[in-house]
């Protein structure tokens, strides 16, 4: 009997009930970026934390300057600076516990360093002697990801796996405003929400994807609003307010740890330097814009708070700077040494065991190098 033939006996049934799967209201992000420094909330912030953040910011700024200088000296192939974004970089690392995982994007070497990775190892990729310079398992830091947004599903998968194993692990994944346009961003957030994976997505909205301003990247009210469409909460935070970023990320990490699922955090910040040392930012933005942000600098904001509350004095500031100088000098010195390279490494890690084909090629290269060697000696 077709539906139409039932007509004689037709009794209109109520349509199957529809209800939203999640209450959308709590998912909507803050209407204003969350701020702590310079507000009443700052009084509640832990002074020790603020001091740690400060030291790290000062060091981070110095690290960015040093790394940029190393490009000029030919010691780095390229460097994407996070000057101006240090609050996000540092807070991301500090919001995590020992056992947690960080998934950095290519710009985030500072976060990697703040998490404890040796800066020389963090910079290996950009120096060019290898790709990932550090053991990801040592500090639980995934390789720096150059293909944008591709690291986000990795973070989701890792967090999901940890939860399946019953481990207390949260993954924090970093991506830029431009990266939110990639399909992988979408797929990662969706998987995370469906699986309720313990993962936090930090979007550093620094206003640009290389030269492309945010207005050409999205028409959304904010990037945090994207959370709604996945059924996860979105948070909006002043990305230059280290205390605020730390608080929002810590909340999100705590929520994830407690089984509350993923959170999307948009931190509003600004890329003060050019995209990389190879980029000429004057082609696409004026200095007035940059200058306006210099007045909202993360170090200035925190320094002011600390000073006004008497949590730091000139000596403390000088000490932080000095520590940063020492750090930079050490880095400079180590980066000025030529890395020792073995061309045979080309073949060592393609597979667990080189294929017969790779063994042949390795032998070929070895023979070539030996011949070269003889040539120079003879």
């Amino acid at each position: 009997m077709t539906v139409m033939e039932q007509r004689g006996a037709y009794k209109p049934a109520p349509p199957p009930a529809w209800q939203p799967r999640t209450d959308p209201a709590p998912l909507l992000p803050d209407t204003e970026p969350h701020r702590v420094l310079g507000t009443e909330a700052a009084a509640k912030a832990d002074p020790a934390l603020l001091r740690t953040l400060y030291t790290q910011l000062v060091r981070g700024r110095r690290y960015n300057a040093q790394a940029t200088a190393l490009t000029k000296q030919g010691r780095l192939a390229v460097y994407p600076s996070s000057t101006g974004q240090e609050a996000c970089e540092v807070a991301a690392a500090l919001a995590l516990k020992e056992q947690d995982w960080l998934f950095p994007s290519y710009r985030d070497t500072l976060a990697v360093v703040a998490r404890g990775v040796d800066p020389v190892e963090a910079l290996t990729l950009l120096r060019g002697d290898w790709h990932t310079g550090y053991d990801p398992y040592e500090h639980r830091v995934a390789p720096l990801s150059t293909p944008l947004a591709t690291q986000l599903p990795h973070a989701v998968g890792l967090a999901h796996a940890a939860r399946l194993k019953g481990d207390d692990v949260v993954a924090l994944a970093m991506v830029g405003d431009g990266g939110t346009s990639e399909g992988d961003f979408h797929e990662a957030l969706n998987f995370a929400a469906v699986w309720q994976a313990p993962v936090v997505f930090l979007v550093q909205n620094n206003g640009f994807a290389i030269s492309v301003p945010l207005a050409k990247q999205t028409a959304a009210p904010s990037l945090a609003h994207k959370a709604v469409g996945y059924g996860m909460p979105g948070r909006l935070v002043d990305g230059n307010d280290a205390a605020a970023v730390h608080e929002v990320l810590s909340d999100a990490v705590r929520r994830a740890r407690a089984g509350g699922g993923p959170t999307l955090v948009e931190a509003i910040t600004y890329r003060v330097d050019a995209h990389t040392n190879a980029d000429d930012a004057t082609r696409y933005r004026g200095s007035a814009e940059v200058d306006a942000w210099r007045d909202h600098d993360p170090i200035l904001l925190l320094e002011r708070e600390l000073t006004e509350r008497g949590l730091i004095d000139d000596a403390g500031i000088a000490a932080a700077r000095e520590e940063a100088e020492t750090f930079a000098a050490g880095l400079r010195e180590r980066m000025n040494q030529d890395p020792v390279l073995d061309p045979m490494d080309l073949f060592t890690h393609v597979y667990a065991e080189p294929t017969p084909q790779l063994r042949e090629q390795r032998d070929q290269l070895r023979a070539e190098l030996e011949a070269e060697q003889e040539g120079t000696q003879g």
């Binding site: 599903p153 399909g183 992988d184 990662a188 597979y351 667990a352 084909q357």
Partner: protein, 334 residues
């Protein structure tokens, strides 16, 4: 001691059994993909796994291939051994960036610190009357991507053995399942399934003296039929089943060609830029002075995979293989 009756089993059943045994043997093995859970997969290869091992071990994912493979990468980073199902060959393309830029490279990028033991099962090839995007032979893409193993079974026993070996491999494996062989049968004893040798060994499916047919996956059976038919023409053909395209078993292939002096590479994939070019080139490099004729290729045409009603004209069949064998310059020899 009771003897077990060896009943005919299909390749599909052997694959299911391989997944089940792998999951039972190692709790790190997780199966994931579209419809692999409750439904058991559109080809029923994952049938019963969700029931037996729970949905956390055999998971219906959202519909997003890059997301599936990308999250599998993360799971592998944490020590799991994901077995991903791509529903059809062409639907693996959305995951191409994850495959090429991460899956294939992660071990190398991290100097061996972060291997990714992921198996990516891809039903591939034609011959089942599928509409567009359901019959692609995508092995050329995977072959050209260092860091991946590329494996494909042609028999029921190999389906089991090679899938077990792939899942056990500490490297990523693209495991290509010839769709049209899913229902092919063989006498195979599921109670004594044999592991195959490590991935990378080709096998001579039929010995012969006149010429060698080099093939894999869906074309192996066709080549065996061609070899039978060739007897009428007086040709005694050897048939080599590669079983894995990466690593490539030069030894077995070249030993055969050196013996026969003539070779034809046969596959469904398009000829231009397809696997056959590589295979023919490496045979020629290694066996030049043993060759009585150029290595020939019988492949799909260089066209988008045809609609169901035309696919028989596209697929390499017995006649086309025999035509190629006939062109192996037999006169020149004598």
């Amino acid at each position: 001691m009771t003897t077990v009756a060896v009943k005919p089993a299909t390749m599909a059943q052997a694959l299911t059994r391989a997944l089940r045994d792998a999951m039972a043997a190692d709790p790190a093995v997780h199966v994931m993909g579209e419809d692999v859970g409750t439904l058991g997969g559109v080809f029923r290869i994952t049938d019963g796994l969700a029931e037996e091992f729970g949905e956390d071990r055999c998971t219906d994912t959202p519909l997003a291939e890059a997301g599936i493979l990308g999250t599998a990468v993360g799971m592998a980073m944490y020590g799991l051994r994901p077995v991903v199902e791509m529903q059809f060959d062409a639907f693996a393309y959305p995951a191409f960036e994850q495959l090429v830029s991460h899956v294939a490279k992660m071990r190398n990028r991290t100097r061996g610190k972060m291997p990714l033991p992921i198996t990516i099962r891809v039903p591939y090839g034609g011959g089942i009357g599928g509409v567009e995007h359901h019959s692609d032979s995508s092995e050329a893409y995977y072959m050209a991507t260092p860091g991946l193993h590329v494996v494909t079974p042609a028999t029921v026993a190999d389906a089991y053995g090679l899938l077990r070996a792939s899942i056990a491999s500490d490297d990523p494996v693209v495991f290509l399942e010839p769709k049209r062989l899913y229902w092919s049968k063989d006498s195979w004893n599921p109670d004594e399934p044999t592991q195959v040798e490590p991935i990378g060994r080709a096998v001579v499916r039929r010995t012969g003296r006149s010429a060698t047919l080099i093939t894999y996956g869906p074309s192996v059976q066709v080549c065996l039929e061609a070899a039978e038919a060739a007897r009428a023409e007086g040709w005694d053909l050897e048939v080599v089943d590669l079983r894995s395209l990466v690593p490539f078993d030069d030894e077995t292939v070249c030993a055969s060609v050196r013996r026969t002096g003539r070779a034809v590479v046969v596959h469904e994939s398009g000829g231009f830029g397809g696997p056959g070019g590589e295979i023919a080139a490496r045979i020629t490099e290694r066996c030049f002075h043993h060759l009585e004729a150029p290595v020939l290729r019988v492949a799909g045409f260089d066209v988008p995979y045809p609609p169901p009603m035309l696919e028989r004209h596209h697929l390499p069949g017995v006649d086309r293989i025999l035509d190629a064998v006939a062109r192996l310059q037999w006169e020149a020899e004598s």
